[in-house]
Symmetry: none
Subunit: 276 residues, 2 copies
């Protein structure tokens, strides 16, 4: 059974020609507001012509555009009057779709991850990353290296001397000679923990490098060498572990570091502002 227009669209979007599909996508993207505007505005937003919009609503079963708008308004009225019913994706059939459980598990993971993570802990790590005594290196494992890249991409903008260690093991192993007590090494490592990373962490630790470890709740062996450990929940109903919680922690940290540097009035940040 189809109750909302959004469902109706996603049900038939497959059978639509390209132009009408663009219309459908733009409408879904910020539903239902685009549909409440005029045909001309809708068509511009979707990058198609007016008749295409009209054919689109016709395909949905509406006699004319006003009727379509009325339906959207009625839906919106029902939604606004009972904000409690703003459940996520009522389209999902309780049994079939495996999306909701996945999302629910991910959200739970994040809440749980942050429940075990104090503000002070994050602030400390942020402070460590923000104080520019030495260099910052980032590295990750097979699946988590993208997280290291993501964090590096941001940090490298707001401060100098941020390096992502990429490529072959032999390459970043040689970078060890650049590292010392004043430096910070951010490592992402979840199961299955990688031998090469562990060895690398140990060597870095011996050189006095401060290690910040992102790992899962079972803690990578690297935790032995780490100054700070962030343990994220990774279990989801999937064949793969989820790094989403660690990703959010990383984003939070990026934000915290940025804020601390702003507060410190770093020149680089002010320069950055002017570029925005």
């Amino acid at each position: 059974m189809i109750s909302s227009i959004a469902e109706l669209i996603s049900d038939r979007i497959g059978t639509m020609p390209a132009g009408e599909r663009r219309a459908a996508q733009t409408l879904i993207a910020n539903y239902p507001l685009t549909g409440l505007k005029t045909v001309a505005e809708f068509s511009i937003a979707a990058g198609v012509s007016s008749p295409t919009i009209l054919r689109f609503v016709a395909r949905l079963g509406f006699q004319n555009y006003p009727e379509f708008q009325s339906a959207l308004q009625d839906e919106l009225a029902a939604q606004l009057q009972s904000p409690a019913s703003r459940t996520l994706n009522p389209a999902s059939p309780a049994g079939g779709g495996a999306v909701s459980p996945m999302l629910e598990a991910t959200l739970d993971n994040m809440r749980e991850t942050f429940r075990h993570l104090s503000d002070k802990q994050l602030a400390d790590i942020a402070a460590r990353l923000a104080e520019r005594r030495g260099k910052t290196f980032l590295i990750g494992g097979r699946f988590t290296d993208p997280l290291a890249r993501y964090m590096a991409a941001h940090l490298a903008i707001i401060q100098p001397d941020v390096y992502h260690l990429a490529g072959q093991e032999s390459i970043w192993r040689d970078r060890l000679i650049d590292m010392g007590k004043r430096d910070v090494l951010v490592i992402f490592d979840i199961r299955r923990y990688q031998e090469s990373l562990i060895r690398f962490a140990e060597k870095a630790h011996e050189r006095g490098v401060q290690i910040v470890l992102f790992t899962d709740q079972w803690l990578s062996p690297i935790a032995r060498f780490a100054r700070h450990v962030i343990a994220g929940r990774t279990a989801v109903p999937s064949a793969w572990d989820s790094s989403a919680a660690l990703f959010v922690v990383a984003e939070t940290l990026i934000g915290a570091v940025t804020r601390q540097l702003e507060a410190a009035g770093a020149k680089r940040i002010r320069d950055l502002e002017s570029l925005r």
Copy 2:
């Protein structure tokens, strides 16, 4: 300070004549829907004439009726996009650090992103990625390329011919000659949209490549060329946009593709199982 139109009305309703006051009351009664209808409908609902409605909106300071409606729509857009403001969470320590708001916003972003995303849509994309007629290419922008890498790292394990396009523009631009109708190109692009990516997407589209686009709610121009568009929420209380919602969608897709291939009994998957 007056922020919403509803406030504006209740502020001036005292100085209004009887007819306009009735208009104000009917609008407030089921705000803001009555204001989105036509003048005639509004007037009937309020039991007054059309000119009275127009005088009413004029008294609120609007030049004409469409301007008034635009203002209402903007307000509604802001309201729909940040359901966070609605759920005041007494559990979170109000005084504490800047962590909770960031997390709350991220969780909201995810819920909102998936609310606009049907199971069917995800299943369609997963099916497209799972059917092994052609090759799969992944690429991202400055900050989102790590997401492309993350997805590529997983997909490359469960199926052959998965390539992440990295490095200089000239390098992946030349890969276009390998792409054709049977291939899929997954692009991550959020504001500020990168010219190079747009050009690349256009070229790929011209070659008949099926494009799956991960973007933000304002839709990258690439949406024009995309077969499938995933619009994630990115707004968080930080100097940076958040890609966390897109990350979770990516993980969900990875899971869905894996499941489909398992269901299809792909040999590669069985081989993979034995390696675990």
